[in-house]
């Protein structure tokens, strides 16, 4: 095709549109007609196809002969035709001058492709729309590539999460094996030592009593650890608190604090609370939570430092705040703290499975409450905040 000749299609267009043929346009028309990646064509004011380029043929599957003169609504899905979408698009383009949309379009063979469409109204000097220029790009491949990328990313994330879970499990096994073996070692050594004392004639009453006391201590420790493990598996399998009752939360907190005061007379635990604050919940489970929280505050802080326990009535519920002056916690550790087997990195060698706060959060959340831990502002220590609704689940 010579560039100076008016193309067959262009001649046909001119016949339909009645627009004058300008020789200077030839090169441009040839350029447009030969574009492969975009369907570029003109629509008449009613939406009939006026021109067709190679890109349009490639993308939509029609030859120029087949489609010129046809209404452009045949590129749309039946659903969109039912909504009168093609006509509305022309209206919008005519009103605003231009409209760009993405959507499914239909090829000649009935298959669909994801298209980016720009419809521009061509207006005469009086402002009347005499034609529309339509540029359509097939984004199916791009969309598929994006989809593949999304899936790949999701897979990578899933893999990373699985690896993290493995690391957490590994960390747990390491902690659990240490924690379970220690009381096991105590039991075995104490039994061995009692047997040896007996065979060497040293087993007097005093030694028997201290031996039995040690056995009792080690057994309790084992018992606690096993219960912690069972709690986790029970909570993870979704068992919710069942024994709902109305009780005084302040009395519960004071009970727990008293247990810690008994165990450790030197420590100053200061309680600030109203006379009473009644809530509905699983009292024994919440006792476990408060015990856990107190245990953390006490375990991670020096023996002579004060622990503040504050209970307050707040709108819709009751809040408990426990502030310690202990080893504190960094931001990264805060995020991990409530995970199963999570634990601050600065407290590797403190006895326990690191499941306490994980279990606590499960219980609190089953009540419709919230629990969080943060570093004490500007000072050494940790602040634990917990909120419980007046009635479990009635947030």
């Amino acid at each position: 095709m010579s560039l100076l000749e008016e193309s067959e299609i262009a001649r046909a267009n001119r016949a339909i549109t009645g627009l004058p043929f300008l020789p200077g346009e030839i090169a441009f028309r040839v350029l447009v007609e030969s574009v492969q990646d975009y369907a570029i064509f003109l629509l008449g004011p009613q939406g009939q196809v006026l021109t067709w380029n190679q890109g349009a043929e490639r993308i939509k599957g029609y030859t120029a002969d087949e489609i010129i003169g046809e209404h452009f609504s045949r590129f749309y899905t039946p659903e969109e035709i039912a909504e009168n979408r093609p006509a509305r698009l022309l209206e919008v383009a005519s009103r605003d001058g231009r409209v760009e949309i993405e959507g499914w379009r239909v090829r000649k063979d009935g298959t669909r492709f994801w298209a980016d469409v720009i419809l521009t109204a061509l207006k005469d000097e009086d402002g009347h729309t005499y034609a529309y220029a339509k540029v359509t790009r097939d984004l199916t491949e791009k969309r598929a590539a994006e989809e593949r990328e999304r899936r790949l990313l999701a897979e990578q994330e899933a893999r990373a999460a699985a690896e993290e879970a493995l690391i957490a499990r590994d960390r747990f096994l390491s902690i659990a094996s240490h924690e379970l073996k220690t009381p096991a070692a105590s039991l075995r050594l104490t039994v061995d030592s009692l047997l040896r004392a007996r065979s060497t004639g040293r087993l007097d009453d005093e030694r028997l009593e201290s031996g039995l006391n040690r056995l009792s201590t080690a057994t309790s420790r084992l018992d606690t650890l096993v219960n912690e493990l069972l709690d986790v598996s029970r909570l993870q399998s979704g068992t919710r608190p069942s024994a709902m009752e109305r009780f005084d939360f302040v009395a519960l907190v004071r009970d727990v604090v008293e247990r810690f005061t008994d165990a450790d007379d030197d420590r100053r635990i200061v309680v600030t609370a109203p006379d009473e604050s009644w809530i509905v919940g699983d009292a024994s489970r919440l006792d476990q939570v408060v015990t856990n929280v107190m245990d953390n505050a006490v375990k991670y802080s020096p023996i002579d430092e004060r622990v503040e326990v504050d209970v307050a009535d707040v709108p819709g519920g009751v809040a408990l705040t426990v502030t310690d002056r202990g080893v504190g916690i960094d931001d990264e550790a805060v995020a991990r703290l409530f995970e199963a087997f999570g634990r601050g990195t600065n407290v590797e060698h403190i006895p326990g499975l690191g499941l306490g706060l994980f279990i606590s959060r499960q219980i609190v959340e089953h009540h419709g409450g919230r629990i969080q831990v943060e570093p004490r502002q500007g000072e050494q220590g940790t602040v634990m905040r917990m909120w419980l609704p007046r009635e479990a689940g009635s947030e």
């Binding site: 240490h178 070692a185 075995r188 060497t200």
Partner: protein
């Protein structure tokens, strides 16, 4: 013949610590105890054991930090070290703290007693024992 000597038990678990102290005393050893590495270092300022029975995972100062500090300061270098721990890969951990021997928790009492007896009779890694019991050849 059973070797007797000065033994330091560094262990955070009270039951293990007290029981080890009791049985080692029964055997005729002079025994001191510490609940963690820092306590052990403080104690060693004025008292040098011939054998340290060392737990690895402890609060405040663990067994690794304790050994680093002890060797860095050059305190009682002739002391033998028996590691008692529930740590996984205990051999590697024991190597890291340059222990002379290790036992995995839970252990048997006779294992501990024979290890103690053996170690008190052997020269330490960093020289002969600096205690009253002469090393046997």
């Amino acid at each position: 013949m059973t070797m007797c000597g000065r033994v330091l038990v560094v262990e955070d678990d009270a039951v293990l610590r007290e029981t080890l102290e009791e049985v080692l005393r029964d055997e005729g050893h002079e025994v001191r105890t510490a609940a963690h590495g820092q306590e052990a270092l403080d104690l060693m300022d004025e008292w040098h054991p011939e054998l340290i029975i060392l737990d690895l995972m402890m609060p405040v100062m663990d067994g690794f930090a304790f050994r680093d500090e002890q060797l860095r300061k050059g305190i009682a270098l002739g002391t033998r070290v028996l590691v008692l721990s529930a740590a996984r890969d205990l051999e590697a951990a024991a190597t890291r703290v340059t222990a002379d021997a290790f036992l995995s928790k839970p252990f048997r009492l006779d294992e501990v007693l024979s290890s103690v007896s053996l170690l008190l009779g052997a020269p330490g890694r960093y020289g002969p024992g600096d205690g009253t019991s002469p090393p046997v050849s």
